[in-house]
């Protein structure tokens, strides 16, 4: 008996051991992950990569708005962007590139292939565009080759990168022209290739305008590329809608529900408030709350004088004291209380028309008039507010009647070219508040308008207290894991010194 038991036990164990071996692959497979995917799901990821707000929390959004002097922040210590210092950027956005390649592999041979190619070209172009705008030269031609064993890509010059970006956008236009409705599009375009084509071309115009200082660089051919796109005619129309994302109770606005932590001490800048006042622009009432002290003093919420911005370059302690005395207008409460107060707009008809207006002033195009473009752009920008909950507008509602009567006084299109450009730039500045606010900083680098307040006595920009930083530093992933190529790029551009006040090729 004992022997039999012994043998049985042993056999049982050996059975367990041998049975275990054959299932190792199965054991080491996570049922919550998959090796299967679809072009549409990769497409969703790719489009969100460039359209969604990528900051960790609402405070990043506040910080993004402090850099172009929209707001000041009376909380948690000095906000670097308000006082003109920024740090290193992050190349993490480039992690989308292999997903784009995979999307095309999945889409190969399907009817939607051309549309996905269009998405691929657009997302790639846009991703590289934003990064080169932040830092200068970046890896471009050797980027995205990790899978082939190239882990230390060399850098391309900004000129070469822009050339590539513009060509990719041109290709995107062609792909969408051949495309059909595609799946996986999170934007309001819902996979419509015609709308995408228009948005791609509008984006190309925006990027070309960014290159206005380089309009005479032969390789880029900025002006003729611009004119060519305009004459092609496939541009955004008022009915196309914006390229971006709609917020909802499920996908909330980044500031929604932040519980006063970040938003309640966001003070409006006098730069923004005063310009809105000059233009009699009712967006003032949508962007801001009246200053508490003014209301206590008897002013009403409809009175522009009740709205008081802060010179965001003043001493931090003084700003805090002013905030404590309710001297300044705060950010409009709708951003905090509404889950979807306004959508995220990356490219709009309004902005496109303002870009066309500038191009017309500059003589890059000859069709239409600058005034037409300007007024179309501004009207479209104002019409965005017709969908905002008017309960937050302090009764100064923007409706069609208001829009139609907007172009009086300072808002009327001026006659001098220099003034016209400033008007156009100001409208783009007003348009991008709490939207693509980083772009307003890019535009300031190009136009130096509107005039930002500077105070060397408060600036944290130690090497240039009289100015805004001109770029982000390269990320630590480069100093740690791609140093040789980085040093070469720094030597090419910035005398070997990675510093925030250095001028990239684009701005020279």
């Amino acid at each position: 008996m004992k022997k039999i038991n012994k043998i049985t036990t042993l056999a049982l164990l050996l059975a367990i051991i041998s049975a275990g071996c054959s299932k190792f692959e199965e054991i080491n497979t996570d049922p919550n992950k998959t090796t299967l995917s679809s072009a549409s799901m990769l497409c969703t990821k790719a489009i969100l990569n460039v359209t969604a707000f990528s900051g960790r929390d609402g405070k990043v959004m506040i910080s993004d708005n402090a850099l172009p002097k929209y707001v000041g922040y009376a909380n948690e210590g000095q906000l670097g962007t308000q006082y003109n210092t920024i740090g290193a950027t992050d190349f993490g956005g480039l992690l989308i590139l292999p997903n784009i390649d995979q999307m095309l592999i999945e889409a190969e041979g399907t009817v939607m292939e051309n549309s996905y190619k269009g998405v691929a070209s657009f997302v790639r172009a846009y991703r590289f565009f934003r990064l080169t705008m932040e830092t200068g030269d970046i890896p471009y031609s050797e980027a995205n080759q990790g899978a082939d064993g190239l882990y230390r890509p060399s850098y391309d010059s900004q000129e070469e990168i822009f050339l590539g970006i513009l060509d990719e956008l041109k290709a995107a236009d062609q792909y969408f022209a051949l495309g059909v409705k595609f799946n996986g599009d999170p934007t309001p375009y819902n996979g419509d290739p015609v709308k995408w084509r228009r948005a791609v071309n509008a984006t190309a115009l925006k990027i070309l305008m960014t290159l206005s200082k380089k309009e005479n660089v032969a390789s880029l051919n900025v002006k003729s590329r611009f004119a060519e796109i305009v004459s092609g005619g496939f541009l955004l129309e008022p009915s196309t809608g914006f390229l971006g994302l709609n917020y909802s109770t499920q996908n909330k606005h980044p500031l929604s529900g932040t519980n006063d932590l970040f938003t309640s001490r966001t003070v409006m800048s006098s730069l923004l408030v005063d310009n809105l006042k000059i233009l009699n622009d009712n967006r003032l009432y949508y962007y801001a709350e009246p200053a508490g002290a003014q209301i206590l003093a008897g002013l009403t919420e409809v009175d522009p004088a009740a709205y008081n911005g802060v010179d965001v370059s003043i001493d931090y302690a003084t700003m805090n004291a002013g905030h404590s005395a309710s001297l300044y207008s705060l950010l409009n409460k709708r951003y905090l209380q509404e889950e979807a107060t306004e959508p995220r707009r990356l490219m709009t008809y309004a902005e496109q028309q303002l870009i066309l207006a500038e191009a017309r002033v500059r003589g890059w195009i000859t069709t239409g008039t600058a005034q037409e473009y300007y007024e179309q752009g501004v009207k479209a920008a104002l019409s965005h507010f017709t969908t905002v909950n008017s309960a937050y507008a302090h009764t100064m509602v923007i409706n069609q009647a208001y829009i139609d009567g907007y172009f009086t006084g300072e808002a009327a299109f001026k006659t001098e070219q220099e003034d016209q450009l400033k008007q156009i730039w100001m409208q783009r500045y007003l348009l991008n508040f709490m939207q693509d606010s980083q772009y307003s900083y890019f535009e300031y680098r190009r136009t130096a308008y509107p005039v930002f307040p500077f105070n060397p006595a408060t600036s944290l920009n130690e090497n240039n207290p009289d100015g805004i930083p001109m770029r982000w530093l390269y990320p630590s992933s480069e100093t740690n894991y791609n140093r040789e190529n980085l040093i070469e790029a720094l030597n090419e551009q910035y005398e070997g010194y990675d510093e925030i006040n250095k001028l990239m090729w684009l701005l020279k």
Binding site: I27, F91, P186, N320, A325
Partner: protein, 1142 residues
């Protein structure tokens, strides 16, 4: 079978005959005592059939011996074996057979198990019990007299000690008494008195720690002197007098090379490290997958063996790569019958070792236009609390009204804290018999934490038993653990710890005691001084809660079979299973969500769902199974002994988690259910599993107790690696040499042992790490799901990580083992690191999973010493000391994947603490810009994380029935961020932030009064290379003369966050500290008193845990936890322990 017989043929002399008679009497007496507790199972079971006529008694006895396992003990001179007898028995028990056999004689029989003692009746009758005086002399083996030897009478309160000549005399002894001679460092000796009145006693040396047996890998018991690696033993008794929540705390400082980090956070488990790594826990030979020391009550522990380093635990494969803690639980008792032990500990909070304080001079910012104080918590950077009228929240009338502004909340934190306690009660019941034992133990630990609504209950019930029948042995145990807390709370800055509300972002301008009624609108709006950031702390503790409810079972079965006397097969199986239900309920109206808390391990953090209320539910469960089958052989050939083992193991574990949470708020206030979710509830799940199969063998040789050698080999197959690399080997060799055995005898040297070992171990990849799979995000936007590729490039050829450890050690016992020193030095080479090596995301990927070509070496030294400086009859002082150090260095760098920083160099330590220093001029002054300190734009090394060395000390002083034990330990060196103080500075709450400049800032708004010490740049520039080295510098300095507000300056000076950023140098503290960990004063109630009560023993102790703390830099929090992020106040516990045995 050869039977032993006590032959009396040489006992011719009458005196010798008498001696012999005496011995038999004693034997009978002793055996008789034993028998009283024994059940004669064999004699009752065995039945005989005999039919013999007219044979010699000896023949009959031989026949009985042949047919049964009985054997007879008798004196041939006293028993007439040639007597002719006849006997008939038909299936009778032995008792009946013997009765018949000796009927009509005076021979009596005594059966003890298989032994039968035959003796003439007069021998079993003891002579008159008159009391006599005995004298004698005690010497050592070389004839030297031994003074101070304790001479006691067994079982009586009677005794004396030898004088300087080694002689003694003792009155009132009766012949049935047994004398016990004991002396430290010597083996005890027992001498029956009988008719003898003079005793010559020779005591032999006992090699303490050398004949001591320790439990090594796979539960193999070995003599300590045979080991070639470091093992240190802690007895269960050492951890059962001062019983805190976790036994881990009581281990602190007791073992060289073992570091325990005791966090002061409520319900936090102590973290245990051996030589800087987390060891495997093995309970009764089973390496469970889910058991921790938390699940083992101190009272269930017989011993703990700490196997330091990979050689000691090489037989456990990769799981033992960092050493092992081997817990042997109490099994049987040392005497037969029923033993019941009650051990009860009660400890109460008696103040705090470290507790944050807050300034009480300043309140919050007051709005100058409304004269209302700020109600969104931003610290206390406001006006002085000088009694001025300010519009404030009145929690009684629940309205805003003007009241004098005073520091009425200066004791808020202390007032908020509640009396805590730890109740640790255990009942142990053991029934011990000859055949085996049955044991049951029940433990209850109740812990009330420092904050309101913080209770943690831990209940353990275990039952186990073992039996041995013939060649077969079985041992099995089952234990059930339950751990419950209605609210573990939320800790750390990112969890919105109560300190966040009370000490940092609030001001001492409200009295917390008025806020116990925390509702303004029940279940919806809180009655709070603040309207954002800071919850009413009572609301926070009762309406923002994280509950846990964990059940854990573990079962073990150990079957042994002696195939041959020297060959044994063992099957051992261990299984554990747990389930844990956690909930987070955040009431509507809360200003904070759950922060960084999760309801399943690795679960989702939920931020920003607070004000509308939220409910999270997490269910996790898992199990592990570990089956071992092994065959062991132990043989001796002349001077050689051989121990061999071969076996195999299958280990499998699986962990599942499912979590769900409401989204968009609760539909009905205080309705905490997934059904309350306004938007569709979100659900997630996770699973991980792993199997490792192993085969192993071990061969140990020893020669003449002089040289010991051992080699082991194990091969694992792990499911986490690909087919080509999943099989890997771990070899190990070790040896020891007893040098004192070949040296000429030296009086003071009792023993000198030299040992050395080497092993090479492998560690496979993590679960699922080698798989390249998509991550799917449900509802990435609207109803669309998104897929993304992994951001890691994975090779298919990933090898297991490797390390080799070489260790050498020596042990010296001195002065008859009154002192001993053990020294260990080791070097561990670590290579083939499996690393998610970062690469630039410009490559499309952020990491590559591969074996990088970097190598590290860890070097360490451990010293352990035990001394008994005082030892007399009444007094004894035992002292144990340990000291250890280690550091890890780079020994080789990978040109591609090693971090390219100046502090990453061959020869540099790997535990660098990196931060950004202030910019300084050549004279070391801080450079200011616009009056504020400038930070460098580049990281630099500030220090090291790991302590430079750690130490521990234990002292026990005994005087008669009293004993006093004090243990102390500490760490020296190591850097940790003080998140608490950093935020106290930043919020204006730090007691040291009350400076004159601050008063001017606060009372003269708009003025700036603080000028930081240092310089400013008046001209020139500086440039840096990518490492942060200065490439050109034309700066010229003058003293800083720009005034700023104290607040702005302080915020800049104490830059840093709790979100992963590095602190300023001012908030990176040394963790150097020392602690009096435990104290106990025990009184052992005298046995004579106990026996009157029918009790086996009572001891009463006054106890204390966490008695005293001294820290070099940490003032407001306890650095014991290793990192500091709003550590709860460190509690001092004092109380009583009562142990009663029946």
């Amino acid at each position: 079978m050869k039977k032993t017989k006590l032959r009396g043929s040489t006992f011719d002399h009458p005196l010798k005959k008498l001696l012999l008679t005496m011995r038999i009497v004693i034997a009978l007496l002793v055996l008789g005592i034993m028998q009283a507790h024994a059940t004669d199972a064999y004699s009752q079971r065995t039945r005989l059939s005999l039919n013999i006529t007219d044979a010699q008694l000896a023949t009959v006895l031989n026949k009985i011996e042949d047919e049964t396992e009985f054997f007879f003990l008798y004196n041939e001179k006293l028993l007439d074996t040639e007597r002719k007898v006849s006997i008939t028995a038909d299936n009778q028990v032995i008792d009946v057979v013997l009765d018949r056999l000796f009927a009509g004689t005076d021979v009596t029989h005594t059966i003890i198990d298989r032994k039968i003692i035959l003796a003439p009746g007069y021998l079993t009758e003891v002579d008159g019990m008159q009391q006599v005086k005995v004298t004698g002399k005690v010497t050592g083996t070389k004839g030297e007299p031994l003074p101070g030897v304790t001479v006691a009478v067994k079982g009586k309160i009677l005794g004396t000690a030898t004088d300087m000549e080694g002689t003694f005399s003792l009155d009132n002894v009766v012949p049935t008494d047994v004398l016990i001679f004991s002396f430290i460092g010597m083996k005890n000796k027992e001498m029956p008195v009988g008719s003898q009145t003079y005793f010559e006693v020779v005591l032999e040396e006992e090699l303490i720690g050398m004949d001591a047996v320790v439990v090594t890998a796979l539960g193999i018991k070995r003599e300590e002197k045979a080991l070639g690696y470091a093992v240190q033993k802690v007895s269960g008794d050492a951890v059962t007098t001062v019983k805190g929540i976790d036994v881990g705390t009581s281990l602190t400082g007791r073992v060289a090379g073992l570091m325990v980090r005791n966090s002061s956070e409520f319900t936090a488990e102590p973290e245990i490290f051996i030589r800087g790594e987390k060891p495997l826990l093995v309970i009764d030979g089973v390496p469970y997958g889910n058991m921790t020391l938390r699940e083992i009550p101190s009272d269930d522990i017989e011993t703990i063996s700490v196997l330091k380093g990979a050689t000691a635990s090489a037989l456990y494969g990769y799981r033992g790569a960092s050493g092992a803690i081997m817990v042997t639980t109490r099994k049987g008792a040392d005497r037969n019958g029923l033993t019941v032990t009650l051990n009860s500990s009660t400890m109460f909070t008696a103040g705090y070792l470290a507790i944050p304080e807050m300034q009480s001079t300043y309140g919050r910012v007051v709005n100058t236009s409304t004269n209302t104080y700020a109600r969104s918590g931003d610290g206390s950077w406001g006006v002085p609390l000088d009694g001025r009228d300010v519009i404030q929240w009145d929690p009684i009338s629940k309205s805003l009204k003007a009241m004098p502004y005073l520091p009425i909340g200066k004791d808020n934190f202390n007032n908020f804290l509640e009396q805590g306690f730890v109740l640790n009660n255990n009942v142990n019941i053991i029934q011990q018999t000859e055949l085996g034992s049955l044991r049951a133990s029940a433990t209850s630990v109740q812990n009330k934490g420092q904050y309101p609504n913080s209770m943690f209950n831990k209940m353990t019930y275990s039952i186990g038993g073992d039996i041995k029948i013939d060649r077969f042995s079985l041992s099995s145990a089952i234990a059930y653990n339950k751990q419950v807390s209605p609210n573990t709370g939320f800790s750390g800055y990112t969890g919105y710890d109560p300190m966040y509300n009370m000490l940092v972002w609030s001001a001492p301008d409200y009295d917390i005691r008025d806020y116990k009624d925390y509702w303004l609108v029940p279940d919806e709006v809180q009655n709070s001084s603040y309207t954002s950031t800071n919850n009413n702390p009572y609301f926070d503790r009762y309406e923002r809660i994280h509950s846990i409810n964990k059940d854990l079972f573990n079962v073990s079965l150990d079957l042994g079979y002696d195939i041959l006397p020297w060959l044994k097969a063992t099957f051992r199986s261990g299984y554990d299973i747990y389930s844990d239900r956690q909930e987070i309920k955040v009431s509507m109206g809360s200003f904070q969500g759950a922060g960084s808390a999760t309801v399943i391990p690795g679960g989702t953090q939920v931020w920003g769902e607070s004000q509308k209320g939220s409910y999270n539910l997490g269910l996790s469960r898992g199990f592990s199974i570990n089956n071992d089958l092994m065959v062991t052989a132990d043989r001796t050939f002349k001077d050689f002994t051989v121990n061999a083992l071969a076996g195999g193991t299958v280990f499998f574990r699986q962990d599942d988690g499912i979590e769900a949470r409401t989204q968009g708020g609760l539909s009905i206030p205080a309705f905490y259910s997934l059904k309350a979710s306004i938007n569709p509830a979100v659900v997630g799940s996770s699973i991980s599993r792993q199997q490792v199969n192993s085969l192993y063998g071990r061969l140990a040789l020893s020669w003449k107790s002089l040289v010991y050698a051992e080699a082991t080999l194990r091969n694992d197959w792990s499911s986490t690696l690909s087919k080509s690399t999943r099989s890997y080997l771990y070899p190990s060799v070790s040896g020891s040499f007893i040098a004192s055995n070949i040296l000429p005898e030296i009086d003071w040297l009792s023993l000198w042992k030299i040992r050395s070992s080497w092993t090479s171990y492998k560690k496979p990849a993590g679960i699922f790490d080698i798989n390249s799979v998509y991550t799917i995000t449900n509802n990435a936007w609207g109803s669309l799901s998104a897929a993304s590729l992994p951001t890691t490039i994975r090779g298919t050829d990933l090898l297991p990580e490797s390390a080799g450890t070489f260790e050498i050690g020596t042990m010296v016992n001195l002065f008859r083992n009154r002192a001993s020193v053990d020294l260990t030095w080791y070097r561990k080479r670590m290579y083939d690191f499996i690393k998610f090596a970062p690469i630039t995301p410009a490559s499309g990927y952020s990491t590559r999973l591969l074996n990088i070509d970097e190598e590290w070496a860890r070097k360490g030294l451990e010293i352990e010493a035990n001394v008994t400086p005082v030892k007399t009859e009444d007094w004894q002082w035992d002292m144990a000391l340990n000291w250890s150090t280690y550091a890890t260095y780079y020994t080789k760098l990978d040109s591609l994947y090693s971090t390219d920083k100046p502090w990453v160099q061959v020869g540099a330590r790997t535990d660098h603490y990196v931060l950004r220093e202030y910019q300084k001029d050549p004279n070391g002054n801080i450079i200011h810009n616009n009056g504020l300190p400038l930070y460098s734009g580049y990281d630099s090394k500030f220090g090291n994380y790991d302590p430079d060395w750690i130490w521990g000390m234990s002292n026990t002083v005994r005087y008669r029935n009293w004993s006093l034990t004090v243990t102390a330990d500490g760490r020296v060196g190591g850097i940790a961020q003080t998140t608490t103080e950093m935020y106290m500075w930043r919020a204006g709450s730090h007691p040291n932030s009350v400076v004159p400049e601050r008063y001017l800032d606060a009372t003269q708004p708009g003025t700036k009064n603080y000028i930081g010490a240092g310089v400013k740049v008046i001209e020139g520039t500086v440039t840096y290379d990518t490492y942060g080295n200065i490439t050109s510098d034309t700066r010229v300095y003058s003293p800083n003369d720009i005034a700023v507000t104290y607040k702005t300056y302080t915020e800049a000076l104490h830059k840093g966050t709790a979100w992963g950023g590095s602190p300023s140098t001012l908030d990176a503290y040394s963790t150097t500290f020392f602690k009096i960990r435990e104290m106990s004063l025990t009184y052992q109630v005298p046995d004579e008193f106990c026996s009157k009560l029918g009790i086996n023993g009572i001891s009463v102790s006054a106890i204390g845990q966490n008695v005293l703390l001294w820290a070099k830099q940490f003032k407001y929090s306890d650095p014991d936890g290793g990192s500091e992020n709003f550590s709860d106040p460190a509690v001092r516990y004092l109380g009583l322990n009562l142990r009663v045995g029946f």
